[in-house]
Subunit: 261 residues, 4 copies
Amino acid sequence: MTKPIHVTVWGENVHERENPIVAQVYPDGMHACIAEGLRTDAGLEVGTATLDEAEHGLTESKLAGTDVLVWWGHAAHGKVKDAIVERVLSRIWEGMGFIALHSAHYSKVFKRLMGTSCSLTWREAGERERLWICNPGHPIAAGIDRFFEIKNTEMYGEPFAIPTPDEIVFLSWFEGGEVFRSGCTWKRGNGKIFYFRPGHETYPIYFHPIVRQVLGNAVRWAAPEGQAWIDTCPNVPIDQAREKLIVKGPRLHREGEQGFR
Amino acid sequence: MTKPIHVTVWGENVHERENPIVAQVYPDGMHACIAEGLRTDAGLEVGTATLDEAEHGLTESKLAGTDVLVWWGHAAHGKVKDAIVERVLSRIWEGMGFIALHSAHYSKVFKRLMGTSCSLTWREAGERERLWICNPGHPIAAGIDRFFEIKNTEMYGEPFAIPTPDEIVFLSWFEGGEVFRSGCTWKRGNGKIFYFRPGHETYPIYFHPIVRQVLGNAVRWAAPEGQAWIDTCPNVPIDQAREKLIVKGPRLHREGEQGFR
Amino acid sequence: MTKPIHVTVWGENVHERENPIVAQVYPDGMHACIAEGLRTDAGLEVGTATLDEAEHGLTESKLAGTDVLVWWGHAAHGKVKDAIVERVLSRIWEGMGFIALHSAHYSKVFKRLMGTSCSLTWREAGERERLWICNPGHPIAAGIDRFFEIKNTEMYGEPFAIPTPDEIVFLSWFEGGEVFRSGCTWKRGNGKIFYFRPGHETYPIYFHPIVRQVLGNAVRWAAPEGQAWIDTCPNVPIDQAREKLIVKGPRLHREGEQGFR
Amino acid sequence: MTKPIHVTVWGENVHERENPIVAQVYPDGMHACIAEGLRTDAGLEVGTATLDEAEHGLTESKLAGTDVLVWWGHAAHGKVKDAIVERVLSRIWEGMGFIALHSAHYSKVFKRLMGTSCSLTWREAGERERLWICNPGHPIAAGIDRFFEIKNTEMYGEPFAIPTPDEIVFLSWFEGGEVFRSGCTWKRGNGKIFYFRPGHETYPIYFHPIVRQVLGNAVRWAAPEGQAWIDTCPNVPIDQAREKLIVKGPRLHREGEQGFR
């Protein structure tokens, strides 16, 4: 039997409580809806965490036990504490997968991973979106045909200010005339990262069966595949060099001293 | 006549004043030595800035007039103010080139651009380094033959925790048995980034004629080549959609409102 | 004064003579129209070459004097001789830029550079195309605003079977509902490569002022920027190793012998 | 129980029969030795194929049943038939993994996948090689510490004329002073590609336990992970466009006709 993949769905859970339209669409919170969709996959063990929990629900031990972290945020990006952002980044570098949803393009974690502004253009008109698959053989697109459609959605348009993705899985066509790189992958350290555009909170997008299928595929794709690794800039003692060395110059650091940070 | 490229060499200027060995090698500061080397290229206009100046010498107008920023830091990475880091990042995204030297692998700006830990291994033994050129046709390697050597240097070894570079220009061989990706390029937004390994402060590496040649080449390579661009996530008004749209669903934002950050 | 960039526009010139619709749109051949557009840029020296010339007009000396080769082909990809394809590839690796237009996605040279099938989907209905700029600061997009439109064109749709581009400059939206990566860059050896989608031969697309502007931008971007380099797998004689070596094992090759091909 | 991965080890099997030194090191052929090493992994089903078999042992059905193809060739690259090369490429694009060993940098298949010259420098002196791991968390490096050593080997040095790898897993240090990108990954179509440098035929390198471990890791990494996909440039009939279209211009092709190749 294959080991289950441990997934944590993080949601800021703000609009669901403050905005009546969102509350009606996602009465239990968006994180709960996303988690419910993932639980239909028997190989996944799915938990949730939210902004208002202690340490935003992302304690050291919770992250240590998480294989893939799914991130929904929109109204409260600025309320996520920097110390938690650093902790999430370190765990990603170690190998945890990270899936950024829709407005999470502007989350602190995603912006830190990208190193760019992550800007885009947008419009709320409930228009139609068609997501085309750029590589029908990609595991994130498994089981989908050439495209799928979302009847009513917010538009995100290019330019999307990201570094070149390793692969583009989905490209969106919008009724109003725009296009967008809607499914993109990167690797940072040993963490696999997937950005997936669909998901505005005033529409029931996380109930959409193909959106749910993509999220399940993405979680499986982003699960760690190597050994956990993150480094701390170790000094190599001179007498442990693989080729014999005689010290030939002055040094800033004494033997065994840490480097600067 | 071609327009000159405006270069700013930033140095933290700490070790040069506090450590007598470094003070002897670089009596005017490392930034001054690096700038002096670049000034031998008639097409470059070279200024400097240091940590202890107001705003670290990196005011809005100074950055606006800088085409390429060269960064030396080691002992005082943590003293660089976050607001200045953000300002430098924005200017890089707009198109300013950025050259990170040696220990700047751990500078705040470089780590923010990479989105990884930027860890490596290191040893101070004054050993020999040989830098091989991976692509003799690359403009950063112009005028150099297949390799060049540095007689005494600190060692940096793999694993170097960076995202895959766009191109690797130099790979280092060390006397003690290690290897390192010593010359790497990336692009973030419209800014071209070059990381160049040579440069420990207890050795006169920035007086080395080929190191100076590489820095001149790198500055020319990193100069902006397109139009300055950085974006602010603009809303596209519904009546300005290129294809006629009728609003079909609820909205979070009123017309003209800003998105969340 | 800056040195001019030498451009060769290669056209197969088949449909222009055999198909009356194409002959009417491009009476002098498509290569002539493309060259005419580029000649409005004073910094470019533009010549042409066609399939029916000796060596397809791509002699050793013609290629040696070409900085950027622009390629139009469609009906006669299979008639391009393999020896000429190899010659063009070698010159690209040395540093010559290569711009593949529209149906050149299936040209021998482009397929060899990509290493993939280069397949796509297509439809001829004279529909509207809108090309969005993914990075308004990219030199290939200089002088264009956020998008431009082509009133009547053939559709090319995803999946486009290419390796991940270094950068995507244009993404297309089609009236019939598809999307396409319409402006993509790669580097192979020292040659910069740009694929540009617009250009079906039954429409006057190469008369379109913005298409012409993009082609001019692309030629300037693709011009060689380093020193010409291509290698021949040289043996390094043992006595020329940078570190002293004593032969410690058997050899397949005698000293000075060539490697296998 | 997990499905086994089907591996085919292809060897040209020329030097093993013609050169007495090689025959002594690899009496059953190099392909047999490589296959034997892989068979110690219970999850792999390993077969072999050689140049002198009909269709070089790479029939349509053999390839259809192969998940990962391991390729050894050196003296007889030019004898591999182009039709078989095309067949192997198509199967890679569909999803089959491909592992190119040592001198296979100059094999027809590898050169076609790369689109570059694949040149390097080399020396036969039986010198020492140390392979450093650039990312200790990468699955291809699983179970290995920071480096491993090969006591006697041929040297391969930079410049290695390849397109930028997706990831570099190993970098080599050589006793004679050179460095080399010895473990590199790419993706072409849906096929994962790994180039692994170690392997000169006059040394017992494929008996080395860590070399064998890397090959096992690499095979597992390169196994297909999505659904097989390769495309044939299909026409999209106008009446099947997702958005209603009215034909607005002339056409080169009649409805249902194939495109040009």
